[in-house]
């Protein structure tokens, strides 16, 4: 029984939250990594692209809620997400036309594009705040729990509770579907193959008659879709506030770099590595140990490696370690 309690506590406070967070990071990191592979720069505006797509989704969700539409237990936001993706895609395509294309024609160095994207980050940031405001926005509806603490306790008689929020379940399911679609697209379709060819060797791809503008446009659309999905899932699971999306940039970049910039598989693994280390390093293991160890052997202290305030420091530390010992990332990306 104690073993079960320990397992449930660990699931409830570490495994489930970290998996959902990891899935959100992985989707974000995929976007960063695709841009890096094909357009060859680190897109610092990615966090705010997420915020913009999510904002459009929220506005449409409110309209749908106002019109009385709902999906029952599933959040209405999922219905609004295609519009959000469309909005984000329109934004990044417009930006590409107005800004990035100019620098591409100049054959600007990647570092210049990074600075350009930083400028765009502030512009997106301002636009989002201007439209929806700086405050917390709540847009989740439908059933809050798939499995609530009380139901679980009543059903099992355990002391510890296992909870699974609807948003966490949806995050995991959606992430699996999106990642499967993306890999199918990249590996099986003609367009996907041309994108990979472009990423591998730009000159050779041009010689084989691949249109660079088309590849770039499709990349931006995919990135906008990934960003909106990641942003909406994060917003449903936690809450939407423009500033927190700006802060998300750090763990997302850490995920992409740890996995290897430019490697889609690396982005996914990196996302989960970062999420699980953030959560396990700051979790206090006292409770689990008290269940596992014989009576009286339980620790008095919290058995917490780092205070929760240092959560972001974990991303930084992993980033530094990976860059020191394996600069190309776990999956041999293009950097380094």
């Amino acid at each position: 029984m104690d073993l079960l309690n320990a397992f449930v506590a660990l699931m409830n406070f570490v495994v489930i939250p970290a998996s959902a967070y990891g899935a959100q990071l992985a989707l974000g990191a995929l976007g960063v990594t695709l841009i890096y592979a094909i357009l060859r720069f680190s897109n610092f505006a990615h966090g705010d692209t997420m915020a913009f797509g999510t904002m459009v989704t929220i506005l449409v969700t409110w309209a749908l809620q106002g019109a009385g539409l709902s999906l029952g237990p599933v959040p209405t936001a999922l219905l609004a997400m295609p519009v959000g993706i469309f909005g984000a895609a329109a934004l990044v395509l417009l930006t590409d036309r107005a800004v990035y294309r100019f620098y591409r024609r100049q054959k600007a160095a990647p570092v210049i594009l990074v600075i350009v994207s930083t400028g765009l980050m502030f512009i997106y940031n301002g636009v989002v705040r201007f439209i929806i405001g700086v405050d917390d926005q709540s847009f989740d509806d439908g059933a809050r729990f798939v499995l609530s603490a009380r139901e679980f306790r009543e059903a099992t008689g355990l002391q510890e509770a296992l909870t699974l929020r609807t948003s966490q379940a949806i995050t995991l399911i959606t992430a699996v579907i999106v990642v499967a679609l993306l890999f199918w697209f990249l590996n099986r379709t003609r367009t996907g193959k041309s994108m990979r060819a472009f990423a591998d060797n730009e000159d050779l791809a041009l010689l084989s008659g691949i249109s660079p503008e088309r590849v770039v446009a499709i990349t931006w659309i995919i990135v906008a879709a990934l960003a909106t999905v990641a942003g909406t899932l994060y917003g449903l699971d936690k809450s939407f506030k423009p500033f927190t999306y700006f802060q998300l940039l750090l763990p997302i970049f850490a995920s992409a770099i740890v996995g290897g910039l430019g490697s889609p598989v690396g982005a996914i693994v990196g996302g989960f590595v970062i999420a699980f280390s953030e959560v396990t390093v700051t979790y206090a293991f006292k409770k689990v140990l008290v269940y596992l160890l014989p009576d009286g052997w339980g620790p008095d202290g919290l058995v917490q490696l780092l205070g929760t305030d240092y959560k972001f420091a974990v991303s930084f530390a992993i980033l530094v370690i990976v860059l020191l010992f394996r600069p190309t990332g776990l999956f041999r990306g293009k950097s380094g």
Binding site: K238, Y283, L302, T308
Partner: protein, 396 residues
């Protein structure tokens, strides 16, 4: 010629001195007209100036001298700016006392750099940091708001009354939260309680599951939340309920807001806490006056501001002087028993009693009772949440 000159000079000085004696008595209002609390300061100012106009209508103080307010901006956060503003009040405007400052940090700075060196008394309506109780103030500093140390005691007593001896604490990571958590833990441990974990939380984050993971692991009968009900405090409670870790919470004054109960819903039932409160004749008398003057009496620290200004004027009247070294000892006398109870709106009567050599016990808008180094004892309302409403248990 020489004689004439010196005679003129002497008479000029004499006139000046006479003018000083008969002219208006200036009192500084040093509040944060810009900065984080700029939204509540207009109400505080209006309330303090209402006290001034009531006294002036009744004939002023010290045999007919009128009171005059001099406003300056404390900024709430910038100690250098507040000190400069206070210095200007004292040296160029010649104020006899300062009603202010507001936030604890700037209040301490003004007290140390301006009030004590110049010998000017200050009554703050809103500085609650426990640190100010032991500030080196030459007995020149008073406040009509209770110290957070007092709230810490009240919260600890509530737990003692419910026989709860193990709690986890989380506080908002700023001066208010840190001070309050220190004060609470000190009182709670003094009465034999155990704090399993005292963890800060940042406001405005999207996710508090890591904080709750640590707090849950530490355990405790209730979770004491010393934060803001529309910020991190709400996020903490949400996460705790979602994870099924705590189901009862003790809430400090920053958590007292109806929106918290509306947002979180039925799960809040059974949680409890305390909030500064004033009730009774004085409060309702002030309410009537404020309504007439179109001031929002419910707004934070509006009542305390009226009381701070009234106390300054009465202390001067009682001492028969505008010199802080003479009237500073009178502040406690007029605020506390014995004497004739004075409600808001009866300031004219109070001045008359004091002029005749009588004694007053100022009740004011907040049932003023100054204790210790000259700070409000503080009345708190203990409440429990029932059916989505705050229900009064008792007053402390």
């Amino acid at each position: 010629m020489k004689k004439l000159l010196s005679a003129t000079a002497i008479s000029a000085i004499a006139t000046a001195a006479a003018a000083q004696d008969a002219g208006p008595v200036k009192i500084g209002i040093l509040l944060g007209y810009t900065g984080p609390i700029e939204s509540i300061v207009p109400g505080m100012t209006a309330s303090a100036e209402m006290a001034i106009s009531q006294i002036n209508e009744a004939g002023g103080i010290l045999g007919g001298r009128m009171l005059e307010a001099v406003r300056a901006d404390s900024t709430c956060i910038d100690s250098a700016a507040a000190t400069a503003a206070a210095e200007r009040m004292v040296t160029s405007d010649g104020v006899a006392a300062i009603m202010g400052a507001d936030c604890s940090g700037v209040t301490g700075a003004v007290l140390a750099n301006v009030a004590v060196p110049n010998g000017i008394a200050m009554i703050s309506p809103s500085a609650t940091s426990p640190g100010l109780s032991s500030a080196d103030d030459n007995d020149l500093f008073f406040r009509t708001s209770p110290s957070d140390a007092r709230q810490g005691e009240v919260l600890a007593q509530i737990l003692a009354d419910q026989d709860i001896d193990t709690v986890a604490v989380t506080y908002t990571n700023n001066d208010y939260g840190k001070g309050l958590s220190d004060a609470f833990i000190q009182s709670f441990e003094a009465q034999g309680g155990t704090v399993t974990l005292n963890a800060p939380h940042e406001d405005g984050k999207a996710d508090y599951s890591a904080e709750i993971g640590a707090l849950d692991s530490a355990g405790g009968d209730v979770l004491v939340v010393l934060g803001y009900g529309d910020q991190g405090g709400k996020g903490i409670i949400r996460s705790a309920l979602d994870a099924g870790s705590f189901d009862r919470f003790m809430l400090a004054d920053g958590m007292y807001m109806q929106s918290l109960l509306d947002d979180v819903g039925a799960a809040m039932d059974g949680s409890f806490g305390a909030v500064p409160w004033s009730e009774g004749e004085g409060t309702s008398a002030f309410q009537t006056l404020a309504d007439e003057a179109q001031i929002d009496a419910e707004s934070t620290y509006t009542r305390e501001s009226y009381d701070a200004m009234a106390l300054l004027a009465m202390a001067m009247q009682a001492a028969g002087s505008t010199d802080a070294n003479e009237y500073k000892s009178k502040v406690m006398e007029v605020a506390n028993a014995p004497g004739e109870p004075i409600l808001p709106g009866e300031l004219g009567k109070a001045m008359q009693i004091l002029a005749d050599g009588g004694d007053v016990d100022y009740v004011g808008a907040t049932n003023v009772e100054l204790i210790g180094a000259g700070e409000a004892a503080g009345n708190y309302r203990e409440y429990v949440v029932k059916d989505g409403e705050y229900e009064t248990v008792t007053f402390r």
